[in-house]
């Protein structure tokens, strides 16, 4: 019987070992849903779906004729009630499309810096004039991406139901036509129990 008490005490010690300690660890990027709000794994899935959809749209590929079209991103409007860094989402989409080696991108956000560099090279007297980059030679975006995130939510009997929709469009700047579009729908629910701690 004494051995039994020792064994139980050892198991109790093992089960309590984690109590009252704070530990940090790296977790997987894709976890199961913890709330009905948009979570990192939802954003990652959305980015992956949009990129895959664009890369495997055969009609679009036929239209661009195997060339690497130059794109820009106008931005994704956040029409949901949630705060989200939409620029971070478009950055991820751009990174993946660039790494596919099927598209090239302009970045209007750094155009001011480009002009500053060129101006410095032309004016500071330190740069070899034959190597200085003159203005007026940059490429131009042929198409641009834009989109929106929308949300619908309802709450019934302690259940919060949230529906999100990401829409992304690619517009040809010359013709004004939409050459590709796709959307990602996400629906999540969160239940608040009336019992428990």
């Amino acid at each position: 019987m004494k051995a039994c008490y020792i064994g139980l005490a050892a198991l109790a010690a093992m089960s309590m070992a984690g109590c009252s300690t704070v530990t940090a660890r790296e977790t997987q990027l894709d976890r199961k849903a913890m709330t009905a709000a948009l979570e990192p794994q939802d954003v990652r899935r959305t980015v992956e779906k949009m990129v895959d959809s664009m890369l495997q749209d055969e009609e679009f590929i036929k239209e661009v004729g195997g060339s690497r079209p130059v794109l820009d991103i106008s931005g994704i409007q956040n029409r949901s009630t949630m705060h989200l860094d939409m620029a971070s989402i478009t950055d991820s989409i751009r990174t993946k499309l660039l790494r596919s080696r099927k598209f090239r991108f302009m970045d209007r956000a750094t155009s001011g810096e480009d002009a500053q560099f060129m101006n410095d090279q032309a004016m500071n007297g330190l740069t070899d004039p034959s190597k200085a980059i003159a203005a007026g030679q940059q490429s131009a975006a042929q198409m641009y991406l834009y989109g929106a995130l929308t949300e619908m939510r309802q709450q019934v009997d302690g259940v919060t139901d949230r529906y999100y929709k990401f829409t992304l469009n690619l517009k040809d700047l010359r013709t004004g036509e939409l050459v590709w579009s796709d959307e990602q729908e996400i629906r999540k629910e969160q239940t608040k129990s009336t019992m428990g701690f």
């Binding site: 977790t27 199961k32 495997q56």
Partner: protein, 135 residues
Amino acid sequence: MNCKTVLIAAAMAVFAGCTETAGTRVVIDTATGESSVMECSTRLRNRVRVAKCTYSDVDGIAKATVTLESLTHKRLELQARMVWLDEDGAEIDADGKSFRAIVLDGRDFVTFSGLAPNPRGRTAKVQVRETENAQ
């Protein structure tokens, strides 16, 4: 109740939180067309079957599709992701491919497809796990 029974019951209570995280894994080589199913999870093996593996090429980028079949009459909540390996077997942008939610109704089929991140992608590795096992 003897001491042995008490100890076993207590040990089961302590280790109840330990879940098997090995899911079903499928490897598809888009260059040779070979595919192999490595079912690592004893629990999932009885619930999901890999029914078909196909692959194609989209403008120089490899695409693989796996058809999963439910072997139960219950709804299964799964997650799956497809990571890509290059010719040398090195993972390409492993963190870039996310787990996607799959809700598979009883005795139903679902297809899961993925595109290589770039033209270097040659072998697709599909990982399927139960959502409840995702941390």
